[in-house]
Symmetry: C2
Subunit: 124 residues, 2 copies
């Protein structure tokens, strides 16, 4: 049973509390899915989620999702879903604020494990 | 298998093509969940989703989610999750653009069936 939230969460304000990069925070949950937010800058790591799609929404900045055959460039309010099994590597030249939506327990680096691999943290 | 999308979708532009109210369109999908968008104005109908949480994100305007014990008012960039089993009735005094996230097949009026009950449509 999902606990009743006490009120709305402002996504823009939520980003204000984040200082580090590539460290996803849980904004809220919908059933067994997490809505995560992160600030990102630089290049992440090539990885694949074999069992799940991954939604990216850019709130501020610009995110390039490198695929093996092309780059997908997302500006503010752009949404892109990386289908399951598709290798990708996000990067951002300047600091960028993103929202992700994926099943609980999804590892941020997918089938790759390295120093970027972290668990989602609570926002506060 | 989710088909590979060809490029990003801009959520703001997507709303431009919508003229009617309370008629959700599928923006994209993540596994067996739909990201839906709708323009809303006026009062919807009291209903409950017994088996699923429902996420609301306001993009423009103001949405009041009436609960039986209180109102939750969402402005732009505010997110609120109505937990499963919680009776609610959205309303908006002026036209408001919202994003919803819920499992495919979720009925917009939940356990209530009336003239507001519609299937999600494709965006284009």
């Amino acid at each position: 049973m999902t606990p009743a939230p006490t009120g709305p969460i402002n996504t823009l304000t939520a980003f204000d509390s984040i200082r580090d990069h590539w460290q996803p925070r849980r904004l809220t949950s919908v059933n067994d899915y997490d809505v995560k937010i992160a600030k990102v800058q630089g290049e992440f790591v090539w990885h694949t989620h074999p069992d799940t799609d991954e939604l990216f929404l850019v709130v501020a900045g610009e995110l390039t999702i490198q695929l093996r055959d092309r780059d997908v460039v997302l500006g503010p309010n752009d949404v892109f879903v990386v289908p399951r099994g598709v290798e990708h590597c996000p990067k951002a030249d300047a600091e960028t604020s993103i929202v992700m939506f994926e099943p609980k327990g999804t590892i941020n680096t997918g089938d790759t494990r390295n120093e970027r691999t972290v668990s989602v943290r609570e926002l506060h």
